[in-house]
Symmetry: C2
């Protein structure tokens, strides 16, 4: 079955394309965008890639990222804005492309390639499949249907999309096909170790020592179903690191056996405590965070408490205990 | 090419098998052992699985582990000891089966199935291939050649072998075929998420605190390309944990930006230091470990140094520095 038949039929007719994805682009967004560029290049006189926010540093090793425009940049150039086709990848909702929307004239044909199950079908063509691992997998399918000649740059982009969106094959969206695409791309000669290294192994020396120190002070609360820890300004100074180096810490805290909620307190200023919550199975941390004027997703949320660190810890943990049950003595 | 042809020709003639693997069995050892049992069952009147040390707790979810004998146990039963065939999996050297050797009469036919590149070819039949990801991949090949009917238990065992030995597809031994086997096993209906959860997401509270403490004391050596840390008996006592809780620590150490070799010293007894090495790109840690009578793979190896902790640290790190280059001042 050729799912892209309708697009394939008309692709030859067009020659200028705008390719975009969601704000705060992640690995699937950037990898899909680049992969799409490599396979559409032979059809286009002009391809512009544009995103509202810059590509995160951990993805900058992918070749081609240097040619992705910021929407503010592109708005200030004399580039044409009446593209024949606008490809939007990895976006359930067109609002998620942010300010890129201002660059698309009313009536431009939109091709929607996505794997979110709440996709709004906002395109002229909608290729939406929520059973795949990633938008990258859909771009790969398009490449296959177009009979594209795979090059390593394409392979790296698609592999980055799949690896990041499946948490390196750990998440429940990992499909047999995701594994097979990576197998094919490995045989093409791509270096998945590079992807893993750039994305997952970028711990700094000071950062790892800081995480170590924070985890060594880990505490349990409630019925041993709450684990929490704190990072003070002093800790950052001691190890000469910054807040970026605390990335991933709250996921480690959530990972303790028997724990439902992991909490990390960050003393971003003297009486300003940023609190991150992660839960494993049932506790909706976004609803909990609402009580402190925060928000987020059911399994990942946050809030800010304007109080000294010890007071913020006490207020949040005691409230959590009252909702999750206290320790059975 | 049927690489197991010679074994296949003779398998029908035999009906009692002993299956074993190395001391301190890991996921590849246990997974391969169980996988082999599932495919040999139809040929055998009697199959005994035996290992010197017990299966680690994080692998006990694999069905069949409850039937693996400890060598001491089997020595005290009235089981026969003149097996027709002895299968040894994931062992480069026959010495690595430890006390299991006492259960094998002189002259017993040994089938050596392994992926270590320094394998000693100690078997009557040697199926050694160091280009594969794991011993599990070789057992899978045998199953294919035997035309075995794959069941989920077999799939889980092989998937556990591959996932653990490739660090869930992160290590450089990850082959396209490793991915394809997992894709096939996923379609068979196995639950790889269970494997990942049992193996990687079972941090105990004390274990995480211990790791935190160890990482907070992380040290750099050489030209900042060596990172190392130590775990003492006292640390284990302090956090009320055991050696199993140090699993994964050496991989975190290797993950520091700019580091080529990560080293973890474990004081398993007062003057007995177990040293684990991991490298990232070019330094062959198995060759290095040979100098301390250890061994392993180019990117993952180990040795034991009979000395007090501080002395073992000094000997190993200064030797490593002399090979990797000292700090540029």
């Amino acid at each position: 079955m050729r799912k892209y038949q309708s697009l394939l039929n008309s692709l030859e007719k067009y020659d200028s394309f705008l390719l975009t994805t969601h704000v705060n682009p992640d690995g699937d967004a950037v990898g899909s965008l680049l992969g799409l560029k490599y396979i559409l290049q032979s059809y286009a006189d002009e391809i512009d890639l544009v995103v509202e926010d810059s590509v995160p540093e951990y993805l900058s090793f992918l070749s081609g990222t240097e040619d992705i425009y910021l929407s503010d940049e592109l708005a200030n150039t004399e580039r044409k804005t009446d593209y024949d086709l606008v490809f939007v990848v990895d976006c359930g909702d067109l609002e998620r492309i942010g300010k890129v929307a201002d660059l698309i004239p009313e009536g431009n044909k939109i091709i929607n390639i996505d794997h979110h199950d709440d996709n709004q079908e906002y395109g002229s063509y909608n290729y939406v499949d929520s059973t795949v691992s990633s938008a990258g997998e859909l771009v790969y399918d398009l490449a296959v249907e177009l009979g594209a000649n795979f090059k390593k740059d394409f392979g790296m982009a698609i592999a980055a999309a799949i690896i990041t969106d499946t948490g390196n094959f750990k998440f429940s969206n990992t499909t047999p096909k995701a594994h097979r695409i990576i197998a094919d791309m490995l045989e093409l000669g791509i270096d998945t170790k590079r992807i893993i290294k750039e994305v997952y192994q970028r711990e700094s020396y000071g950062g790892l020592k800081l995480k170590g120190k924070v985890l060594s002070d880990l505490k349990l609360a409630g019925d041993r179903n709450i684990a929490w820890a704190s990072v003070s300004q002093q800790d950052l100074d001691l190890f000469e690191v910054d807040w970026e180096d605390t990335e991933g810490l709250v996921n480690s805290i959530r990972g303790v056996k028997g724990v439902e909620v992991g909490v990390l307190f960050k003393e971003v200023a003297e009486e300003k405590i940023r609190v991150s919550f992660r839960s494993n199975e049932y506790f909706a941390v976004n609803e909990f965070a609402h009580q402190f004027e925060g928000g987020g997703h059911p399994r990942a949320a946050g809030c800010t408490v304007m109080a000294p660190l010890a007071e913020a810890e006490e207020r949040v943990i005691s409230k959590l205990e009252s909702e999750l049950g206290v320790k059975n003595q």
